[in-house]
């Protein structure tokens, strides 16, 4: 397959069609909400995890449940649930990682009663022995709830196998994140589609297809133009991606929750696999929804920009996301101290007219030279 053909497979990965395919195959689908859920457990039980990060849809029904200042990611998840977009799913796993995620689970029980809510309560002080035990207790609760909702059974042997499959996918995605920006054939929109499709496609299929893409890319025309590092919760706005491509700005690396943050940390493939998952969560960091008193995320962004030779950092602020707002000032200061130009653009799943963001990106492009 040629590069373009492979990229088009990622871009065509339609979650509704894939969900219907899984259901027609007699498989059970479990929805996974942002930012982190123990997907390996879901996969190991023979269930299909499908990521739900909302969509660019007009919020109507969900307004019955939320005040306006809850982010449109979680509001649109409930909106889609109420519209029946997720019908057929056996459960939804929602983690406790921010205040908005905490309330979405509570509202879900009444807004979408047909799809059972499975809470995943994570510890914030996660590296201590108590933190790891707390995370493990959360995983055991998820297992119990999934067994009740789906009839599927859990086994540690199966989880060990799934961890290997996920670790392989993590490695492939890390390689893709590193290499995608080097090739002219991979636009910002393509790059986003590769990450997004990972939430819908079977992991094994996705791994194989990304490997195929990386092999096909070797030796193709190198990209040109200034590179940027993107950071934020989401970077999938079609208007912003199109503008990046139109301006010749290359995404050379990212610190986006829906992209690279998912794949930074592997679980150990030895010992008890549930302990390995708790250990993995303890080792995760550099993320706005994971406690880090030292705020190493700012150093990570600066370091990534330097390593990749990026000309600037694009901070995509999801509207009403407090954890990202708290980090912004620290990141802005770190970039200024390092002499790295930074542009902050507010993104929202409710944006109808992206003109302001487009103008800001045009000015940023001029600034990068």
């Amino acid at each position: 397959m040629e590069v373009r053909e492979i990229l088009d497979v990622f871009r065509a990965a339609d979650p509704a069609a894939l969900k219907d395919r899984y259901l027609a195959e007699g498989r059970k689908v479990v929805l996974t909400a942002p930012v982190y859920t123990p997907e390996e457990i879901i996969h190991s039980m023979g269930l299909v995890p499908m990521g739900v990060w909302g969509a660019d849809v007009l919020l109507e029904r969900s307004k019955r449940y939320f005040p306006a200042f809850i982010c449109s990611i979680v509001q649109s998840i409930v909106e889609l649930g109420m519209r029946g977009t997720y019908d057929g799913a056996s459960a939804i796993v929602i983690p406790s990682l921010c205040d908005s995620l905490k309330v979405v689970g509570q509202n879900w029980k009444y807004a979408v009663p047909g799809i059972p809510f499975v809470p995943m309560t994570y510890p914030q002080n996660r590296a201590s022995e108590a933190g790891r035990a707390f995370a493990k207790a959360g995983y055991l609760r998820v297992i119990r709830d999934l067994e009740a909702a789906t009839g599927a059974e859990f086994s540690t042997e199966s989880l060990s196998k799934s961890i290997k499959i996920y670790n392989e996918h993590n490695a492939v995605m890390r390689r893709f994140a590193r290499e995608a920006g080097r090739y002219a054939a991979v636009s910002a929109a393509d790059r986003s589609a590769v990450f997004k499709s990972a939430f819908f496609m079977p992991k094994e299929e996705h791994t194989a297809l990304v490997k195929k893409l990386l092999a096909a890319l070797e030796g193709t025309e190198p990209s040109s133009g200034p590179g940027v590092v993107t950071t934020g919760i989401l970077a999938d706005s079609p208007a912003i991606l199109a503008k990046l491509d139109g301006l010749g700005l290359r995404v050379v690396a990212d610190d986006v929750a829906a992209e690279s943050r998912q794949y930074r940390t592997d679980a150990l493939e030895t010992g008890d696999p549930l302990d390995a998952l708790a250990e993995k969560f303890a080792a995760m960091g550099c993320c706005s929804v994971l406690l880090d008193p030292e705020k190493r995320r700012a150093d990570l962004i600066v370091g990534t920009a330097r390593e990749t030779g990026a000309s600037g950092v694009l901070f995509l602020q999801t509207k009403f996301c407090d954890p990202e707002e708290f980090d912004f000032v620290i990141i802005k200061k770190a970039c200024a101290a390092a002499g790295i130009p930074l542009l902050a653009v507010e993104v929202d799943r409710q944006t109808v007219n992206p003109g302001q963001a487009e103008t800001m990106l045009e000015a940023f492009r001029e600034r990068l030279g």
């Binding site: 019955r64 449940y65 939320f66 005040p67 200042f69 809850i70 205040d99 908005s100 905490k102 309330v103 979405v104 509570q106 509202n107 029980k109 009444y110 807004a111 407090d322």
Partner: protein
């Protein structure tokens, strides 16, 4: 005003370390919608509350994020009118005196008409 949920946030009774941990697990910020609802329903019923005035607090997503649904359930369970207003624990710009006045007047009118058996 005859009752508020805040009193529970500052009143802990415990005898030992485990008891302290259990007590803190039940603070109003750490409980689910049903437990939070039932606490309020008990308060309303125990002192014969006639109406519920709900503060939608811009700086408190954890409470305000499921307040609309919880308020509906409390109103139904207790048979009382429910009215909300916007505000903020930190930024007074999120509070509108005119909105507050109108909402409280509306609540008062419903409460009075119910009392009069209209």
């Amino acid at each position: 005003m005859v009752s508020t949920i805040y009193a529970d946030a500052f009143g802990f009774i415990y005898d030992d370390f485990d008891g302290m941990i259990e007590a803190y697990c039940r603070v109003p910020n750490a409980i689910n919608l049903e437990t939070a609802r039932d606490k309020r329903v008990r308060l309303c019923n125990s002192i014969g509350v006639d109406g519920l005035l709900v503060h939608t607090n811009r700086s408190c997503k954890l409470w305000s994020g499921f307040m609309p649904e919880m308020s509906r359930q409390i109103g139904e369970a207790c048979g009382i009118p429910v009215v909300s207003f916007d505000g903020d624990q930190a930024d007074p710009r999120n509070f509108s005196e005119a909105q507050y006045d109108t909402r409280v007047q509306g609540l008062t009118e419903i409460m009075e008409s119910r009392k009069a058996g209209v």
